[in-house]
Amino acid sequence: MNSLAGKLIWVAIAVVGAICLGVIALERGESINAIWLVVAALCVFSIGYRFYSKFIAEKVLRLDPTRATPALLRNDGLDYVPTDKWIVYGHHFAAIAGAGPLVGPVLAAQMGYLPGTMWILVGVIFAGAVQDFMILGLSLRRDGRSLGHMLRAELGDIAGVVCMFGILTLMMIVLAVLALVVVKALAISPWGTFTVACTIPIALLMGVYLRFLRPGRVLEVSILGLVLLIVSIWLGGKVAADPAMAALFTFKPAQLAWLLIGYGFVASVLPVWLLLAPRDYLSTFLKIGTVALLAVAILFAAPMMQMPAVTKFIDGTGPVFQGNLFPFLFITIACGAVSGWHSMISSGTTPKLLRNEGEARMVGYGGMLTEAFVAIMAMIAASILQPGVYFAMNSPAALVGADVQSAAAAISQWGFIVTPDVLTQTAKDIGESTILGRAGGAPTLAVGMAQLIHGVMPGEGMMAFWYHYAILFEALFILTTVDAGTRVARFMIQELAGLAVPALKRTESWAGNLVGSGVCVALWGYVLYQGAVDPLGGINTLWPLFGIANQMLAAIALTLCLVVVIKKKLDRYAWVPGLPAAWLVICTLTAAYIKLTDPKIGFPAGAAKYADALAQGKLLAPAKSPEEMQRIITNNQVDAALTALFMLLVVATVIFGVRAIFKARAVPQPSVNEEPYVALASVST
């Protein structure tokens, strides 16, 4: 009876999910309610979790609830601690959730909400959650070792070095692109700049409080920090309203880029307790709280989707990012569908905390499903905006012009009717002077969130408050990523440099610290600066690089999973990691190939076009001087070199993987490097 009821419930979930997807896919010409998307996503996630993750747990990973985990075997009370699964789940989600799932879907909305939504749903079930879950499962059998260690053990030392190099370049791109998102959000926005600047003294105050006044009282200090943040948002409104004060906090993108580069350097050099740690605490809590707030706002507001299901830009002519649906949609939405970054978390702290192998399913697979739900919410927030407003915010000035009249005319001509008045009024509602040229996802998401929350909790002038709250929340956690990432990369650079000059390796030495931080900041700072001064808006060019790099890491991680499955002689399940790995390899290689060879959107073609014009003494718009022409040429060359590098890394991974597979198949017995079995019952807790 019980199992019959269970079956009926799953049939009901499948039917509801199918109906919702049908409504989303078939409704044409009329806008639909966002709730259809929410319910469809929840049904798909439930079914994927109940059936596919169970299949992976039992057949592919063969998780064994009687087997002792690293947390039990190596319990040290600090890193390896058997912990309640809900606590591990919360920790894991907080660690994987970042800016990625919020920004990617917003950019992808230019093709309509349907293509992006379908990729998120299918991608997470068959690729993203599989990667997170399987890497966690592998690490659990290997003392909670990291991705790099596992690659070295299963694929060889050189594969490990390739991976380290790949991670370092990925990090540089991630830091640059995320910092660029902040630059785009804060450019010519005194309100936003003031509030985000305020987070620095607030963090310093919190740091001192936690260190000297009331050590370790995180709850108190977080409440204090939150109150001060809200006060700073309110003060920001006053600053923006006062012309003299506003001028002090109004910066152009290039100036903001320099400020961020300087800030990144200082944050990497200072002791962690002073700036990095308190910001990290505040941004972690704010991130979780705001994601929850967004979910509640969508449920209560039940908004209508304004963006068409599919726009004409699936042909690759869109203004937000260039390139066809395949492969560019699949690298634009990276986090949310599949993110290589997560494989580092899944082989970081999480495997050291689980008290039972069986719980990896909820934490690894379930955690990623939650992240995909965040991506769906971001897609909704972008799609409830009037499409004309969306395109005005995300199109570069080179395409739509720099004032509301020309932008409204250009966008209306694309078929998204909008008047200059609407654009001016939207800017006024959110307390900004303009909404034009705010690509990068964060501002669009912030307008969407502000409209949603304002719809639930109306109030005079509150829209501007919520907009700046959303900007602050995104900027805060992006800057925390920049701080922490600079620090991590600094250690990696010092380690590499230490091979040549041993003195540089000592991470506590001031010289090593300054040199490592300087090199690291210079690397991502260069990419950030070129993005900030890029006449085409930067995001347009750099986001594909980020997507390619992130998916490249996911392909590496899934290749590792595939090799392990083959080594365990489970060939008939090789498709579980093999198909998504192949798909990511195809997407990244195709995208990189197009970026290298296409005469219209390729980097070398862009460099050649401007070089030819420069040789003939001509100036091509949007460049206004020979120096700007030269800058565009150099940027294109650097981007082309990076793209070629990523292609090489992907190809190298495939070769290492294939080699390891052939080796494994040549031996008749399983050849995997797992720790020996220890019964859970034999370990005292």
Binding site: N75, D76, G77, L78, D79, V81, T83, D84, W86, I87, V88, G90, H91, A94, A95, S146, L147, G148, H149, L151, G160, V161, C163, M164, I167, L210, R211, P215, G216, V218, L219, V272, W273, L276, A277, D280, Y281, T284, F285, I288, M344, I345, S347, G348, T349, L353, A484, R487, V488, F491, M492, T507
Partner: protein, 70 residues
């Protein structure tokens, strides 16, 4: 429903929430650590919560922290 049961359920929920929040920022559970030291390393001194917090904070960001790398 008896008030005592509700209260204890709420207290349990709050404790779980606090532990989750602390773990999310890299601060392990103090009580567990103390218990571990008492049981396995009775010769070692027991740090105060404040010392333990500073230790966790330093470890989260030391050597690139727990964000994992090759």
């Amino acid at each position: 429903m008896d008030i005592g049961a509700v209260k204890s359920a709420l207290r349990h929920f709050w404790r779980q929430a606090v532990r989750t929040a602390r773990l999310a920022i890299g601060v392990a559970d103090y009580d567990t650590y103390v218990l571990h030291l008492r049981r396995n390393h009775p010769e070692q001194p027991i740090p105060s919560y404040e010392e333990f917090f500073a230790l966790c904070q330093q470890r989260r960001y030391a050597n690139g922290g727990n964000r994992g790398c090759c």
